[in-house]
């Protein structure tokens, strides 16, 4: 026995460790490339956020410590913009989730033409965001827009309404454009998750006397939790960082009512030339999104359900 134990070298890795090492080595080149492209900009932006850095070639950067952050946190516009962005995120993601789930259920029940429904879902999602924004801006146009035309013909309005000039409606209209565009993503994720659910559970519950509503709430929905979590985190983080759709449809107006936090970052960095403030804003956005993702995972992630 002792002869055998002495002849096995101590530095020999276990099979699992060897697998892990090869896995790391295979990922290493891409990891280095990705880190090289993203790590340096992230670090330099982080450092920039502690400086007063006006744009310009001959401009000097002065170190001001946490001043950028404290000025932002003390600025009412910052908190109003965060509030607007939260409103956008919550409303947009909720509608997408509910609608997405409904459409996923519809497809899952395989009505006649369900493949066509699933295929046509991809079309809104495939439209580039800029094109989507331009399209909706024309739909909402006061003089020539399709929305006005439709409502007028249905007799719901007597005059054409200048939709994009109404401060309270503007954000909701941007939300509508965003929902149309990204709801298919949620629907498709949930539909594929639904397709993997075992049909026997449903049938067994039906046999036991559960009605459709109970089957949905107590069996399907809990089983869909991992897929919903994925859709929720992805969409929430994306919605919080929305920029291009607000930029194209309303350019932040009317009266700043559709300026989201990323839009504010863009304005500060490029239009006002305050790179330090812009850098600080981007880090604050990251903190918010990490917090939100963390909260979701904390409350919704149950590892045992994924097995």
């Amino acid at each position: 026995m002792s002869v055998l134990s002495r002849s096995i070298p101590k530095h020999r890795l276990s099979l699992r460790q060897q697998d892990a090492r090869i896995a790391w080595l295979l990922i290493l080149p891409s990891l280095i490339v990705i880190l090289g492209v993203t790590l340096w900009p992230i670090l330099s932006t982080f450092i920039l956020s502690f400086f007063n850095a006006p744009t310009g070639i001959n401009q000097t950067r002065t170190f001001i410590g946490l001043d950028n952050y404290t000025q932002l946190i003390a600025d009412r516009t910052f908190w109003e913009t965060i509030g607007r962005t939260f409103y956008f995120t919550v409303v947009s993601v909720s509608i997408e989730l509910v609608l997405g789930l409904a459409i996923a259920q519809l497809i899952h029940s395989h009505p006649w033409g369900w493949q066509f429904i699933r295929f046509s879902l991809i079309i809104p999602w495939a439209v580039p965001t800029i094109v989507n924004g331009a399209m909706w801006r024309w739909i909402y146009n006061a003089d020539f827009g399709a929305l006005n035309g439709l409502l007028m013909q249905l007799g719901l309005i007597k005059h054409y309404v200048p939709w994009l000039t109404l401060p309270e409606a503007a954000m909701n209209l941007v939300i509508l454009a965003d929902v149309w565009h990204t709801m298919p993503f949620v629907a498709l994720i949930l539909q594929s998750a639904l397709a993997t659910l075992p049909a026997e559970l449903d049938e067994a519950a039906a046999v036991d006397g559960a009605n459709a509503f109970q089957r949905f709430w107590q069996i399907r929905l809990p089983l869909l939790r991992p897929a919903i979590l994925v859709a929720l985190i992805v969409r929430t983080v994306d919605a919080f960082r929305v920029f291009d759709i607000a930029y194209i449809i309303t350019a932040g107006g009317p009266a700043f009512k559709t300026v989201t936090i990323t839009y504010l970052t863009y304005l500060n960095t490029f239009t006002f030339g305050k790179q330090g403030t812009g850098a600080a804003l981007s880090f604050l956005i990251s903190i918010f999104t990490i917090l939100m993702a963390f909260i979701f995972i904390r409350f919704l992630y149950r590892p045992e359900e994924t097995q």
Partner: protein, 451 residues
């Protein structure tokens, strides 16, 4: 396992090295570091054609198709220089210049500079000092006012290109139908005429403005403000637009929407939307840059061919009493060479060509020349005959341009303008009272001036 590992190690080493080389290669091929702002580097002898990139707007002034034509002419005369033009809408030009200048060499060798940007850009070191390149003939033959937009502290930073102001245009047909014999001379008269037109059912909203949350609303506000005898800044450089004259103007603007005379979509319209509305025959009065008139004569764009006319920009009664004879806003622009461009000589050659007397007079339908010699003596008659619209636009320009007011030439103008745009929008949408909105904007200007 050892023999299995070795080929993998070699493969990984190759992958790693090639990815690192791929990462660093672009850095090695970029041009050398930026030169000092006043001494452009000597460009290499043009054995190969040099390509220069120029950014300009696709809005007022020449249309992209016409500029492409001019570029072709230039390239035919200068085979060693290739010009790549980029066209974006006006509101994007500023930000594109800022991002373009972050690159070495800069993304653009020259860019169109609006009259409100030189202070900010000179402070940022973006513009090349071209004082020594400007010939005495250019100085004397171009309008002095055109050099104002690019000259600071005696140094010249660009080549004048467009001299544009906002014009007051109206639909002759509609006024006739309403029984109005002459266009309004004051804004108060305009309101009365608009009411008549509306009451007779000729159009629902007789007036259209570009009051969306972009620079366009500040241009319109400037026209009205100076027409009321007001100003943006007082003699000490402190904000004056929130005094009672400014508040009156903003209140007047809101009232014209509330009274149903100004199209409510003005609050989300830019100058292109104003043109679309006016040319579709949906308004009787529209304030816009020169391009709206020539487009109105184009049957493919306009349903009111032959019906648009110019009138001197009205002023307010109070302004007229205070001695204001006319009011408009200067929307001129010029081309500037970017300070870090390695091809300053070639770029200057191109700019001299595109701004030359010959080119400008041939393309004067969209944009009148900046050469005052074209407006004198025989040249004036020639200019008027150059295109079908010139007989109308040239006299309009000559009578309106002398009253063009400048927006403040301060380095923080961009951020200040954003605050003013917000204030005007808040007042127009009823979020704040005009006085409150303007006071808040003025407070922001004071804060910006301190930095």
């Amino acid at each position: 396992m050892r023999s299995f590992n070795r080929p993998i190690w070699i493969l990984l080493a190759v992958a790693l090295v090639s990815s690192l080389v791929g990462c660093t290669a672009p850095a090695a091929t970029t041009a050398p570091a930026a030169p000092a702002a006043t001494q452009p580097p000597v460009a290499p002898a043009a054995a190969n054609p040099v390509t220069i990139h120029v950014l300009t707007m696709d809005q007022a002034g020449l249309k992209p198709a016409e500029i492409d034509q001019i570029v072709k002419e230039f390239e035919a005369k200068n085979p060693d220089i290739k010009v790549v033009m980029e066209y974006v809408s006006y509101d994007n030009v500023h930000d594109k210049i800022v991002t373009g200048m972050a690159a070495k060499p800069p993304a653009y060798d020259a860019a169109m500079i609006d009259v409100i940007w030189p202070d900010e850009f000179i402070k940022a070191g973006y513009l090349l000092d071209v004082t020594d390149r400007v010939t005495p003939q250019m100085k004397s033959d171009m309008f002095p006012a055109s050099w104002n937009g690019v000259t600071r502290n005696g140094k010249v930073y660009g080549m004048p290109w467009i001299m544009d102001v906002k014009y007051f245009m109206y639909n002759k047909d509609m006024l006739e139908k309403a029984g109005i014999s002459a266009p309004p001379k004051t804004w108060e008269e305009l309101v009365a005429q608009a009411k008549t037109i509306k009451d007779k059912g000729i159009v629902e909203y007789p007036i259209i403005w570009s009051w969306n949350q972009k620079e366009g609303v500040v241009c319109d506000y400037a026209v009205l403000l100076y027409g009321n005898g007001g100003a943006f800044l007082d003699s000490n450089g402190k904000p004056a637009f929130n005094d009672d004259k400014g508040v009156q103007v903003l209140t007047w603007m809101k009232k014209s929407i509330d009274d149903g005379l100004t199209n409510p979509s003005s609050v989300s319209s830019d100058e292109n939307a104003v043109e679309a509305n006016f040319l579709a025959g949906k308004s009787a009065f529209a304030v816009n840059w020169l391009f709206q008139y020539s487009d109105s004569t184009d049957a493919s764009k306009s349903q009111i061919v032959g019906k648009a006319a110019f009138a001197p920009m009205p002023v307010f009664d109070a302004g007229a009493k205070a001695g204001v004879k006319g009011s408009s806003v200067d929307g001129s622009s010029s081309f500037a060479i970017m300070a870090t461009s390695p091809y300053a000589d070639q770029t200057w050659k191109f700019l001299t060509y595109i701004a030359s007397n010959d080119v400008q007079s041939r393309y004067s339908a969209e944009m009148l020349p900046v050469w005052q010699t074209d407006f004198q003596g025989d040249s004036l008659e020639k200019l008027k005959a150059a295109t079908p619209t010139n007989p109308v636009t040239v006299p309009a320009f000559l009578s309106q341009f002398p009253y063009a007011n400048e927006r403040p030439t301060v380095p923080y103008y961009n951020e200040g303008s954003a605050a003013l745009q917000l204030a005007i929008q808040e007042a127009l949408t009823g979020v704040k009272s005009p006085k409150q909105a303007l006071d808040d904007a003025a407070a922001k200007w004071v804060e910006l001036a301190k930095k």
